[in-house]
């Protein structure tokens, strides 16, 4: 039914475009000078036809289920677990209910079916009314030879503004929810214990309700959420990844931009970029099943103890994953260094590598730093590889052969499975998310500052 309505609206939109255009052309034949090209009158009519109806349709579909639910539940004030009852009613109505059928459920589903019919009908009526009234309004405007071009501009501007508003509001919403959940967490756990504590064992916090924690339990819990090992692990694995990705990525970027022939570049660049397209979960099991055990056997043959889930394996694979970010971006940046600078350097007798080292790279540095920092934040936020290959034990270690863990891994571990939303353990995930967010924000800020500083100096 819904898709039918949407289809009708869209068809009307399309036909009203042609209708509006032809109406405008008719005006031309009556020797009226149009204020815009005929097509604009088509757009105008089409936008007026579609937008109000689609907005009403969208809002209706969004709120209908909630309203119907409230209407039905109001009839059964005696029911205790209302959500469950409503779900049962719905599945009974849809014919796939397998539990015990009570009279209430029967009554409710009859009620549901009648409300549903009313809702459907009124939806169609309202949308049709909206369509007709907005079409008439727009048609009158066209007949009066309105400034269709300007009006279309305004409508489009509002449309674009709304889109960006949605993006901004979503961001704000996410930050606010992170912030509030974290505040709840910090009301039970001391924030300094969280930031500076060196022991991470959230499994100790199996307390269902945060408000039910006794003072003794609270004391016991205080040092269970020290996030230092997580940050250290994250930074450590990111560091290993960057040790792999920066030299390889940068050098291959330089090769592609400066040395490779057009033909080589044409084929090798997409091939390198394929690395970025491999799903991280594939990297993950590659790290966990191939590279990890390989290091373990290698280490054993050298007489070293290597954990099969090691920071080294995870970092190495993560580095490989990040190579294309650095190589592709620095290739672009190096390419955009003006050829005249290279020629100036060659003309004075510099060789190719001298030119690259002393002129091209310094000129491209802001962009290169930008690409590296982008790669760092990618490494910090990367989840799948570390979940699969780095391990879960929050060891505070700088031995790359031991297993370690990261913030993202711990968030996954905390939230996987059924969780109570008010236990400190769950809220810890939000606190971790918030700190991760702040960390990457600071990183990006520094990156922008560095880039800006170089820009001012060189451009």
């Amino acid at each position: 039914m819904n898709s039918l309505i949407a289809g009708v609206i869209l068809i009307l939109c399309l036909s009203s475009y042609f209708f509006g255009r032809s109406e405008a052309r008719k005006l031309v034949t009556q020797n009226i000078k149009l204020k815009a090209l005929p097509a604009y009158y088509g757009y105008y009519l089409s936008l007026w036809c579609g937008l109000p109806a689609l907005i009403i349709f969208g809002c209706w579909s969004l709120f209908e289920p909630t309203i119907i639910k409230v209407l039905i539940l109001n009839n059964f004030p005696q029911i205790e677990s209302k959500d469950l009852f409503y779900e049962q009613t719905l599945s009974f109505f849809n014919g796939n209910f397998s539990g015990e059928i009570t009279n209430e459920i029967k009554a409710a589903s009859i009620k549901y079916s009648s409300i549903n019919v009313i809702a459907q009908n009124s939806k169609i009526v309202i949308i049709a009314a909206a369509l007709i009234s907005s079409l008439t309004f727009a048609y009158r405007k066209i007949q009066n030879n309105n400034k269709a071009r300007d009006d279309v501009e305004i409508i489009l501007k509002v449309l674009l503004f709304t889109s960006s508003l949605v993006a901004i509001l979503t961001t704000v919403g996410i930050i606010v929810s992170l912030l509030f959940e974290s505040l709840k967490f910090f009301s039970t756990i001391n924030i300094f214990e969280f930031i500076f504590g060196t022991s991470w064992s959230p499994q100790r916090a199996f307390v269902r309700d945060a408000s039910a924690i006794t003072p003794e339990e609270l004391l016991e819990l205080q040092d269970a959420f020290g996030s230092v090992p997580l940050f250290a692990g994250t930074a450590f694995i990111a560091l290993i990844a960057m040790c792999v990705a920066v030299p390889i990525g940068l050098f291959s970027g330089i090769y592609l931009a400066e040395y490779a022939s057009t033909k080589v570049r044409k084929y090798s660049k997409p091939i390198i970029e394929i690395l970025a397209g491999i799903p991280t979960v594939v990297y993950g099991f590659f790290a966990a099943l191939t590279v990890g055990p390989f290091f373990r056997t290698l280490g054993e043959s050298l007489g070293l103890t290597v954990s099969s889930e090691s920071a080294l394996a995870a970092g190495l694979i993560m580095g490989v994953m990040i190579i294309p970010y650095i190589s592709s971006l620095s290739d672009d940046v190096i390419n955009s260094v003006p050829q005249s600078l290279r020629e100036g350097s060659y003309a004075i007798g510099a060789t190719k590598s001298e030119t690259i080292k002393k002129v091209v790279i310094p000129a491209a540095l802001p962009g290169i730093i930008g690409s590296i920092l982008l790669a760092v934040s990618r490494a910090i936020g990367e989840t799948m590889i570390v979940v699969m290959a780095a391990g879960l034990a929050a060891n505070l270690t700088i031995n790359p052969l031991e297993s370690t863990t990261t913030i993202t891994t711990q968030i996954v571990m905390i939230l996987v499975g059924d969780q109570e939303f008010d236990s400190p353990k769950t809220q810890a995930a939000f606190a971790l998310g918030l700190t991760l967010f702040i960390a990457t924000l600071i990183l990006n800020y520094i990156a922008l500052r560095v880039v800006k500083k170089y820009r001012e100096k060189y451009d």
């Binding site: 060659y346 004075i348 007798g349 510099a350 060189y458």
Partner: protein, 257 residues
């Protein structure tokens, strides 16, 4: 007239240049005299720039470019495989159409060449080279107090003189100038022309220009290029007062090009 004034510094013989399949220069034969300014004029795309880029082998940088024939500097062939372009370019400096200072300080822009060629043993010598180069390019007085500022912060005319100073820093014998004033205003142009006049006492200069007036003002010898061929070469006076070729006549009087 000094004795060496008539001595030939650069000699191009049967020079042909191809960009891929397209031939850009046809059998160029041109002699360039020592310590003199030779101007190359001609309509856009006629091969003037391609020709001067043959003198310091800058065309090597372009993959599809192929050079045939001979260019001799002081009687030595430069188009041989075993010629070291680094030494060649130390000897033959170049100034480009658009000022292209490196994104470095004014000091480092000048010091770049000497560092590459190992010309200075210590800081004092380097300071000295930088100062003399900037003085030769008539820029010293304007920038001596801000040598650590980026070269790109200078005005267009100053940037171009910085590029000239950069070319002078490695003590070249020849300076190639590819339309050095086309991006500059008349005042900056006048300064560069004055400078060129001064530099010809010690350097052999080849300048590509679109301005006839400039060719008249700065050069002693002028070559007219058209469609990749040399139409006429003679003393500047002769070319502009009494050209032998009808085409040259038409070009300098503005009838085409």
């Amino acid at each position: 007239m000094e004795l060496n004034n008539s001595k030939i510094k650069i000699k191009a013989k049967n020079l042909n240049v191809f960009y891929g399949k397209k031939q850009a220069l046809f059998d160029i034969n041109l002699d360039i005299n020592q310590k003199e300014v030779t101007a190359l004029i001609g309509p856009s795309g006629c091969g003037k720039s391609t020709f001067i880029r043959c003198i310091n082998r800058m065309n090597d940088v372009i993959d599809i470019c192929k050079v045939e024939g001979s260019v001799e500097i002081d009687g030595a062939e430069i188009n041989e495989k075993n010629v070291d372009v680094v030494t060649l370019r130390e000897k033959v400096g170049m100034v480009f159409q658009k000022p292209n200072p490196f994104p470095k300080s004014i000091y480092d822009n000048i010091a770049y060449g000497p560092i590459i060629h190992g010309a200075a043993e210590n800081k004092d010598q380097m300071d000295n080279i930088v100062e003399t180069s900037l003085k030769k390019a008539a820029l010293w007085d304007e920038v001596k107090d801000r040598l650590n500022e980026p070269g790109t912060s200078l005005s267009g005319g100053q940037q171009q003189r910085l590029c000239i100073a950069r070319a002078l820093s490695v003590n070249p014998e020849v300076i190639l100038m590819d339309e050095p004033c086309s991006a500059l205003d008349p005042i900056a142009t006048a300064k560069i022309e004055e400078l060129i006049d001064d530099l010809k006492k010690s350097y052999t200069i080849v300048i590509v220009t679109h301005s006839m007036a400039q060719a008249v003002r700065v050069s002693q010898k002028t070559g007219f290029f058209h469609l990749g061929k040399i139409i006429e070469v003679d003393s500047t006076e002769k070319i502009f007062k009494n050209p032998a070729n009808k085409m040259t006549q038409d070009y300098i009087t503005g009838r085409f090009g």
